[in-house]
Symmetry: D2
């Protein structure tokens, strides 16, 4: 299924008058709305190929319908999102769930939807049917060199796929760790992992980056070998200038101050990218902004401040990606909600009176500091986000149009009621 341009235009025309009224009232009380709009237009969020189907927990999975059955259909899905919001212009593949057969055809298909290929992702946390060695006791950290070697080679293979597709970054996430005290020697695990990562690093093209993702805990784990930003940063520093830390919002201990971590990683020049989602208790992989929207805003405030301090281009310097699991919502609707929440938080952060804030900080006027942040956060920026979409030909209200066009019903007609996407 594809969404014809005229349908979006028709939809927008019906809504435009009301939209313009709200936008103009808002714009009239803000400075530099055009600058904000341009930044919103440029900002693109990568969609992970594994988030297009219904996810599950370790207990149950309740599948959806009309899910993509192939890499081609996954690209089609992201294309639908991008057509609706013009903010989802990239797809992030996961090997081996998305091994392309014909690179040229795949690239052409993606280009047709206006999509580029974001960071490619390796998988050494599951055993594949034809796999020689098992990752039961870890991959890059494993005590057995042969298993580490297999994991390294898999990563190198992933890089090769990425090169063919025009990607320029590799994301490594390890569920390596231990379930029990004594199971591994933390130092050896770190050193083995470092050695493995160095071998992968050596295979990176010059213009590539590698993202070392950290995670504080997993069910059934007692320790994680890349467990926090401190460990990830240690790896990134030991690896070299192409290595960066990747922050996933759900991968922290309770109450962690993520906005501070982000600020420090930017200060060190080692923040590589983001996995957006939200959580109540652990790594819940819920819709971004659905639980803690103010935290999301504060993170974007750290990002904007930190990127500007280093003269980094917002749209291209970091890898922006969603990493969520959709268990009780339609995956495409869920992704539309996530992208909207990200754009809102970004727009609010762009509206922060940075100069006023610096002044208030300089005077330790804590009340004013809070007023300035809340002024931005309490502003209803949805008309600005919508206006950015309008200017790029996207829908003023993507989710509403998704439903009006009966996109999922169409996909079910095309693909069937009982399809299960590859992936988690």
């Amino acid at each position: 299924m594809q969404i014809e341009k005229y349908k979006i235009d028709d939809f927008n025309q019906q809504q435009e008058q009301e939209h313009k009224r709200k936008f103009e009232v808002l714009a009239s009380s803000l400075n530099n709305v055009e600058g904000v709009l341009q930044k919103l237009v440029d900002f693109q969020i990568g969609i992970p190929s594994w988030a297009l189907g219904t996810g599950g927990t370790r207990f149950g999975r309740f599948s959806g319908s009309g899910e993509p059955r192939s890499l081609e259909e996954k690209i089609e899905d992201v294309g639908l999102l991008h057509a609706l919001n013009q903010s989802s212009g990239a797809i992030s593949l996961h090997i081996p769930w998305d091994i392309p057969q014909d690179y040229k055809a795949i690239k052409a298909l993606a280009a047709q939807h206006g999509l580029k290929f974001d960071a490619v992702n390796s998988n050494t946390f599951q055993d594949q049917p034809d796999q020689k060695q098992s990752y039961k006791f870890g991959s890059m950290q494993h005590v057995d060199k042969a298993i580490r070697r297999q994991a390294v080679e898999h990563n190198i293979e992933v890089i090769r796929h990425g090169i063919e597709l025009g990607s320029d970054a590799l994301t490594v996430w390890l569920s390596d760790g231990s379930s029990f005290p004594g199971q591994l020697n933390f130092r050896n695990a770190f050193e083995n992992t470092l050695e493995s990562l160095q071998e992968v690093y050596a295979a990176l093209p010059d213009d590539w980056k590698v993202f070392v993702e950290y995670k504080a805990f997993e069910p059934n784990f007692y320790s994680m070998t890349v467990g926090d930003w401190g460990q990830s940063l240690l790896f990134a520093n030991k690896l070299g200038p192409k290595a960066y830390t990747l922050v996933d919002l759900g991968h922290h201990l309770p109450n962690a101050n993520i906005e501070q971590i982000v600020s420090l990683l930017l200060m060190e020049g080692k923040l590589g990218g983001f996995h957006f989602n939200d959580s109540k208790y652990g790594d819940d992989d819920l819709t971004t902004g659905s639980i803690k929207p103010y935290q999301l805003f504060l993170i974007f405030n750290s990002l904007v401040d930190g990127m500007d301090a280093r003269g980094m281009d917002h749209a291209t310097s970091l890898a922006w990606m969603i990493d969520a699991s959709h268990n009780v919502k339609d995956p495409l609707e869920d992704l539309l909600q996530s992208v909207e929440a990200i754009m809102i938080a970004y727009a609010q952060a762009l509206l922060v009176d940075q100069q006023g804030l610096k002044g208030a900080q300089q005077e330790n006027d804590v009340v004013r500091c809070q007023e300035i942040l809340q002024e931005a956060f309490r502003t209803d920026v949805r008309p600005i986000v919508a206006e950015a979409r309008l200017r790029t030909g996207a829908a003023l209200r993507p989710l509403q149009l998704f439903r009006e066009l009966k996109v999922r019903e169409n996909l079910i007609n095309e693909r069937g009621l009982k399809t299960v996407a590859t992936g988690l």
Copy 2:
């Protein structure tokens, strides 16, 4: 110091045009704005007498200036807040920090400021200079009946003060618990506490309530004898119809779902009141809404739904109070920010399309459920809250006027630079 009415009117006149423009745009897209406005007008938040001075941690306290030196000056302070926002029409006293000498004069003074006396608070977590028995090892839970008796009598004395002042509720917070495994027998501690509370309960006037506040943890504690809502509810049920649970937002284990607790306590008819504040890690007693404004909104959503389901009057059925500590902000400014955040969350909750939400829930349309909540939360309701203030003669922007009128400077002139309020 008192704020003359004309100063507020002058201030409002300057702002009114801009305010009206924003309010009208907003009102035109909402239903039942008048109903919402009336509810906001009626809603009053109690100010605790101990929050009018600068607080501290166990490490340091960095005092402020112009703090109230007496109960009279505390009432004056709350009067200033209420003049500015007309939403702080009650004061909650803490005995023995605020023992009134002349009830009649104190009542007259409060009335002059338009204030009533909220729940009175007892203190059995500190030893007073003239106290016979020590609370070092607990008060209502103590193994020694004589010490329990002293704590009970103190509470009864607090009730007597409250009766004289026209209060109609007693809040009991116990830092009773233990620092080490084995220090106490949990069952005996519960039973002793229950016996003590029963004796206090017996002394309650017929039209009074007693609030049993719970708290999950304190620095240097291993167990708390009223540690969670389950324990508080057990006490409240065993005590009788005048006993209720009081929820303090900072008194929970990490990640606790407070909005669910609130909903269930309302279901059981046992929610008595609220202590508003905010926190990042523990019982941080920070400005309400400064860390997790969406959680605050969700709690109000539970409150509105639950109170309406039982036909409870929003303004009078529950005891609404701030309980915060102001360490790096001017206490009065901090309280103005807290009240504003509470009014915003309440207004947003009132705007939730409850019927639409019920429909979406009935269909398990989770995407729509989220849209409905976020629609309300993302709306910039500040013009509505300001309009409610305008209609009651309060300031459109209380904090701004507080600063323009140089209230603190005036108080310093009156009271001196180095004053320390009694209390925490």
Copy 3:
């Protein structure tokens, strides 16, 4: 495979001299060792049928070998454990994973291994292939009465199986809850769940119990409908005298004081049973005692104190069960370690000088309280636990014998290398 009695005797004979030496030194410095030994002999821990195969996380599962392929083989597995330690004399079945075809044969097989049938477990957190309605949006709490009805009927069917097998309790665990704010109305969810549980309760035989298990969080959840002991106790109280709360050690928010919860539930006469395991971060389902052995001891200290205060028989008044997942260990070895840790904690708790403790508590001699608890905990009670085994014909060192007899290798020979047990 079955372990012949003489093999155990041979093994014990080799070890007996050293064992006796240690036991006697220890026994000579303790009071009432015989009483402790008898309690240890009587204490039996149920083994869940789903813990006999290798578990997994939502990411990967790395299967083991020689896993039981049928209910008969599961009983055989528990029989092996029981032969080795004589402390695992019960099996807890999970429907529909273990639907017995021939009750009489199954009961005979169990009896042959000296096993009885513990609480039966229902499953409404997964959809079964032939199931009419889906539990995607909950089961007992569902907004749709038809789905609630299906869940109720499933539970009643589970009771019927249990009656046939001689079980006398039903454990209900619900992963009912919500993933997002607004998805459900907490009050309605509670009320629907209560109604469903009441229908199940009505179907309970007179001498049965129903255990309402609570859980604070699940990955991908925002709220749990039976989320803490307070909620579970509300249900149990509303249901009636046959309803009890079941405590699973991994089902709490971070830092929860479980030993206090246990004490209060016993005080209320509403503690029904236990699911033993251990955890570092969340519901990790690790080997009991592998992470926090002192907490396990403190829990048993609460249990011993609380059961004795009510004159409850330790062995029969509560349902004792392991609930763990074995991802990187041989499941049978893991269970042997769990049972050993439980027996050690129980023995230590039995050694606590309860009278001395009460005296120290009465004097608020906190130092002495701690000394008394630590005296028991620091004692190496393994010789006592071993002696209890020796007297019942079990192995002095079950795990060592398990390895010496090459039990797993034998099971692989019998069952094959690539077997996957039904269950999680």
Copy 4:
């Protein structure tokens, strides 16, 4: 008060027979007991001068009796502890609470008690009466250079005191941070702090170390400027070879894996020392080993493994110190319990079959790994710890002798009932 040597000898003689019996049984089943004993004899734990009086929380403080009124009496107190256990041979001073007037006399007094001076501690988290600038908004991080300068100079003054006393390390703990989002810019706070630390570092003698202590949270804080080991390590690396990270057991987010952090810091050559205590919820400063003794053992296991891997001397390479608050126990008794718990954990870690563990790890025999650790932990090593004391002339049971000699009663006679030690 001083404890005459003969009193200890008399006490030991009464207990020696029973002790020897237990020690010999234990020693006969262990390897290399003599090596372990020597390590225990050499191991000394510093006592902080501020832990000799009764502490408090932000709510109340319930003072003890006979507390030291001067630095001299604090040294006397530590001398008493050291006489009893010969494991507390160092005192750690806190400036300005313990400013020595006469260095020579103080050094002579300490030497008389067999004590050396451990790391000196600076205090920039409280304002002193005569202080020019306030630390209300931070010290080393402050936006105002003058305030940073004052904090730096205070630290340099502390170094000067330390030099005079023969100390060779400075511990810096900052309660710098913020209470509200927006209050500070994380990057600027880090950079200001770094600049301040660099100025302090420049004043360090060549053979000194500086320890940068981190802490995840404080009541009333939203961010901490040295909030986790990653940040502390960043500072230590940027400062240079004399800078190290200091780990305080209570300064972590819930569930943090401290034993892994310790292992990685040792790997990086940047672990400087330890503040021992224990906690249930936050920074509770409870008696070491009173809540999570297995975690303490696992930490010592990481320490022994990590120090041995680098050929570090256990006794002298790291700064070992208690940092606790004694609110409901006699401070000296509490410290005796802490030292005992530390020695037990250290002895257990020394008993771990390191070679066997490495072998099991190499084979991923997770069951055996756990058995090996638990074998050491479950061993009752108290006779070994007591034997080490016997050999150094300390008491077999320090706490018992403390009570039998009525040490506190004597101190009350000497110092009075109502003394309050300087410090927290």
